[in-house]
């Protein structure tokens, strides 16, 4: 029953995402072209989650009661289904008539096997993760008791406001909590349902990544190995098993963005661009550090645009000049209406996102423990130097360049934050070091296996 409820919930997200895609085609009066069904379902599902979070955020602003939320939600679901039907009848859906190959069936079986093994462990496990029952699921519990539109505040603000309720992590975004909220509202087994959603999302991502590897000529045995690596990496496995943290969702959305960025550069399609924007916006809705990743994607895009521009030397010179000017002037000190922007040798303050002193902390030991002494997780990271070398040694197209630049920027930013800012405290108690790396792991694995494809005599020739 729990498994069926989980699949129904996954279907709900997919319908929402499908409806958005169908309405885009209706407006454009174009056919919806489904090249590969697993790819389509994956995008519809993740787009659906975005739509769900946005709609529920609107419900919060509109101050709707929980009962009306449920009713409107039903109305939205029915309209989405009608829209899909109307679109199919009016414009039709073109699908690529590729029959599932033996390999596809193998991949699906392997992901189902991996998911079942994880569910076998997590099925009896209550929601044990602290942050989860206090914050992510905790907020959903509070909305159930006090209404979705109640103001949730931290202690000081709460004590000044008689209308609000308290949560220690009130400033965290609501994205993940909103995924937990609906099953709670319908009163189904929340933990089990959410567990299926996690596993379903991960199956979708696995199939999507494998299909991209396939496009790049990765041989079947390497694709199979890729799925085995995905499901047997301890930290990924743990986050699917002890569900309730947003990091695995960040990882999935970051890799989705990377793939969609590549698609956008190859196809230049407006629809893909809109999807990309939705995924990018999802990042800060899931976790506060989503803003950092969002800015890094923008940086990566800008850097690659500059490098490929015909006036690249002039542009690079002006950027360097600007950086030099900032250094000479002793940093940036701006007071803007939406917060302060201070970057100098002692302090970094970026609006409300970060405000920290710059001070070197030696976290080498923790970094080694977190990265390298953790079973096959550590073995994975052995490939990092080779991957970085391959970025430079091989020729890449613009789309790949963006993913590489993003990855290097993300790693640099990660190292900088943990070595030089107050974030080092979370490295020292080993609470966040691994989890932040986890957010990049799916990207890393994808890039690593793509690099393995470039080894002598490995690429599939057809």
């Amino acid at each position: 029953m729990i498994v069926i409820a989980g699949f129904c919930y996954a279907l709900y997200f997919t319908i929402l995402g499908y409806a958005v895609r169908a309405s885009y085609n209706l407006i454009n009066k174009t056919h919806l072209f489904i090249e590969k069904k697993t790819d389509f379902i994956a995008h519809a599902f993740f787009l659906g989650i975005f739509v769900h979070v946005v709609i529920f955020n609107i419900f919060q602003i509109m101050k709707l009661s929980n009962d009306s939320v449920l009713v409107i939600c039903g109305v939205i679901l029915v309209s989405s289904l009608s829209l899909i039907t109307w679109h199919t009848l009016k414009l039709g859906v073109q699908t690529n008539k590729i029959r599932p190959t033996k390999q596809n069936i193998w991949f699906i079986c392997l992901t189902i096997l991996g998911s079942s093994a994880i569910y076998w462990n997590s099925g009896n496990l209550p929601n044990i993760a602290w942050d989860s029952w206090m914050v992510w699921v905790g907020k959903a519990d509070q909305w159930i008791s006090h209404g979705l539109s109640v103001h949730i505040k931290q202690f000081d603000a709460w004590s000044h406001d008689s209308e609000s309720i308290y949560n220690a992590a009130a400033h965290y975004p609501d994205g993940l909590s909103l995924i937990y909220f609906l099953p709670k509202l319908i009163s189904v087994n929340n933990n089990g349902t959410a567990s299926i959603i996690y596993l379903f999302a991960f199956v979708m991502i696995s199939l999507l990544l494998v299909s991209r590897l396939d496009q790049k000529g990765t041989p079947i045995y390497l694709q199979l190995l890729f799925i085995v690596a995905l499901y047997t990496t301890p930290l990924i496995n743990n986050h699917l098993m002890i569900q309730g943290y947003a990091d695995i969702w960040m990882a999935m959305y970051i890799v989705l963005i990377m793939l969609t960025f590549m698609d956008y550069h190859e196809q230049r399609d407006l629809g893909v661009g809109i999807t990309l924007m939705a995924y990018l916006l999802m990042l800060p809705m899931l976790k506060t550090e989503g803003w950092v990743w969002l800015l890094l994607f923008i940086c990566a895009h800008t850097i690659v645009a500059i490098v490929n521009h015909k006036h690249k030397f002039k542009l690079l010179a002006s950027v360097l000049l600007l950086i030099g000017l900032i250094v000479i002037l002793g940093g940036v000190h701006l007071q803007l209406p939406f917060g302060n922007l201070v970057i100098d040798a002692n302090k970094i303050e970026f609006f409300n996102l970060i405000n920290t002193q710059i001070k070197y902390t030696d976290i080498n030991d923790y970094l080694l423990t977190g990265f390298f002494w953790q079973m096959n997780w550590s073995f994975l990271w052995l490939g990092l130097p080779f991957l970085l070398i391959s970025f430079v040694s091989n020729q890449h197209n613009k789309a790949s360049q963006i993913s590489h630049v993003f990855f290097i920027l993300a790693l640099t930013c990660f190292m900088f934050l943990f070595y030089f800012t107050e974030a080092s405290q979370w490295a020292e108690d080993l609470t966040a070091l691994n989890r932040i790396v986890l957010q990049l792991t799916l990207c890393y694995l994808f890039l690593l296996f793509r690099t393995l494809t470039t080894l002598r005599g490995v690429r599939r020739t057809e």
Binding site: S145, G370, N376
Partner: protein, 372 residues
Amino acid sequence: MTSRVLIYWTLSILSLLCCLFVSFDSENSTAVEPKNIIFLLKVEPNYFYYSNNKFHAIVAGQLKLEIKTETILPNLINYDALVIDGLDLDLNSNISLNWVADEKKHQIPLNSNTQSINLIDFQTAQPQNISDLHLLIRSNFELGDHPNAHKEVSFESIYFDSRKNHSTLSLQMNEWFDYTPLKFNSINGYTSSENLHFQSLIQRLVIWVLINVLLYWLLRVSGKQLIISLTIAWCFTLIPFVNNFIKQNQQIETAFAEDGGYLNKQDISTYELAQDIIADLKNRSDINLSTQKFIIVGTNSFYHLRLFHHLMGLNVAINNYINNDLPNDGTKPYIYILTKKSLEDCHANEGSPSLPINILSQQAQYCLVSRS
């Protein structure tokens, strides 16, 4: 091409065997005879008995097995391993070797395998400085509502030994197949930083993989060969992973045998406490639960946070103090929920009113007060 592949695999397999079997220990210590310590164990007879060729220890929470050191003390630092044969340890229990050396406490968690081989280093050059040597068996109550608080741990023999008496591979295997139980903080890492049993495996595999990369580059074989090497290395890490995964399943099944809804025993008591508080409040006509604000007085400990979790239906917060100057926002004054340590404030107030509070309800487990 075929001959190069053959050379690749010959060298690769040879190097793998080297990496797995070669001992990197630089110490030239000579092997010493194993020393059986079963008769040196000092423990209350009620908790320790011999039957069916095995020694059995009954653990209620924790059990300390002292090791009498008078006869072995001069030679103690010559031993660098502790071996337990036929160990049968519950998945929600753990065992450790503890001692004080040079006035500093040391602890080594022991492996939970059937033959548990543990490398030890007494961290001192003077054996007479070693004191309070003991084994400690503890039941782990962090997860689950363990139906039977009394655990039985059994083993066939226990002895101090020298690592030279064991092959490098058996020492390695013992570490790889050690068990990492599931804990509240498991999400952050896999093995705890105090008990890294994969470090040596990873270091050895890293050397082997680098040799393979070098061979691939020098012999110019197909990348497929390198990928096969990587897969073999991955399998080496995969076997302990799967082994641990299966053991975790058994741990979860026994830990949450009765009711999977609560995290542990303490959680059940916080839930019951929360129900009592809610029932108490509902009986009072002077409190409007929908508008009243509550503050649990206490730290951010598991107990208080779980109480907060079970009271989420109320407008409740957690704060360390009772007598801080919270702004009066025009509504009714806050009701403070005192439990555990902060309950003392309530009792103290009965005799001499040290804090300006009104006691609304006073029970054995909790106290509801407001500031006067």
